[in-house]
Symmetry: C2
Subunit: 192 residues, 2 copies
DNA sequence: AAACATCCTTGACATTTATCAAGTGTTTTT
DNA sequence: AAAAACACTTGATAAATGTCAAGGATGTTT
């Protein structure tokens, strides 16, 4: 599974074999079965995690017991709880596997070490963070501006890889609408 | 106005006089009168901007002509359109001044130069980006999970500096609810 | 194969929130 | 000082969306 990460890196930056050996020596592969937690709310999160295979979700549970999905992570994406990582506080979010999955974990200390040793890697990570920021901002825009139907259409446009991979009810949760409303929207859209 | 930026920096990182002279030589002070645009949708954005004084808003206008506020920026915050900056595309957002304001502009080229010359500055900026990311994620959580009233209460908690500074109708826009609904929520909350 | 769980759909109804319109006090402009 | 623009409120009504409940289809476990 390290090779997944290697081809990911090679496609983004120039990296020598020695550099990759360093990275490899600091990474921990972890297999997750469907439904297994990678992180449970209340625990603290200490890693940077790369998804080699599968699909995970990050979600929070409110007072009434309802789940709200903050995001999905599939192959070649990063996941984790940045808030817990940065501030050392217990995580508010849960992360679990929607499919059997494999993630590559780096303790944040090791991760920073890699960033320091391999400037191109550092650049890559900063670029990802900056683009994720833009994506979140666009998601906020959608969230405060769009109707339920527009939110769904926008989701299909921005996340086509997910549309047929995660349950519809989770897409609804991700969009902040009820599963029933999404079902009706899809039904109506067919007629057009 | 450069002194505002200097005390900001000094409060966050150790910085020498020479380093600050470099920064000063690359920054451009710009005064904005109330209502004046810093950026208009369609133009491209080339800067990193620090707010020395005043208050700005970032917003988008939808097909129906409605404004949706993505964020506010007051003294000691950064502003700009990262999407346009990173991708070179025309900005989707407008930024204008809600009060007479002063911003300090750095072309992105100069900004990167400063980051390169002053590692502590670079660290500072990366930390801000990471924390902004967390803040956006929490805002998305609020947006998909909370009722209109909870959104407002959460706003009061997370942004007390803004609550009495920007018009109520703009807070409503920022939260993705109508101005009338916010007015009613405030009225009801008083009774409790 | 039976029992069970999951996922999605559909209908009836309730609730939240938006929209439209009018009115009031306040600030800004002329 | 008058006129205009702005900010907020309030009521009446409409529209969007949520909730509850039932049922069907599919896949999984026993």
């Amino acid at each position: 599974m390290f090779d997944v990460f290697k081809s990911y890196l090679s496609s983004k930056i120039a990296i020598t074999d020695e550099e990759f050996e360093l990275i490899k020596s600091l990474g921990i592969l972890k297999k997750l079965r469907k439904r297994q937690y990678l992180l449970q709310a209340g625990d603290s999160w200490k890693y940077d995690a790369f998804v080699c295979k599968g699909c995970l979700r990050t979600y929070r549970v409110d007072d009434k017991g309802q789940e709200h999905i903050l995001g999905f992570s599939i192959e070649n994406w990063w996941t984790g709880d940045r808030e817990s990582l940065l501030s050392g506080t217990p995580a508010q979010s849960n992360i679990d596997a929607l499919e059997d999955s494999v993630v590559l974990l780096f303790t944040h200390e090791n991760f920073l070490h890699i960033c320091h040793e391999i400037p191109a890697f550092n650049e890559l990570i900063n670029g990802i963070l900056a683009r994720s920021f833009v994506a979140l901002q666009n998601r906020i825009h959608a969230s405060i501006s769009y109707t339920a139907e527009e939110k769904y259409q926008n989701f299909l446009k921005t996340s086509p890889q997910l549309a047929n991979r995660v349950p519809q009810s989770m897409i609804a949760s991700y969009l902040g609408i009820s599963a029933e409303t999404l079902s009706r929207i899809r039904h109506q859209s067919l007629k057009k």
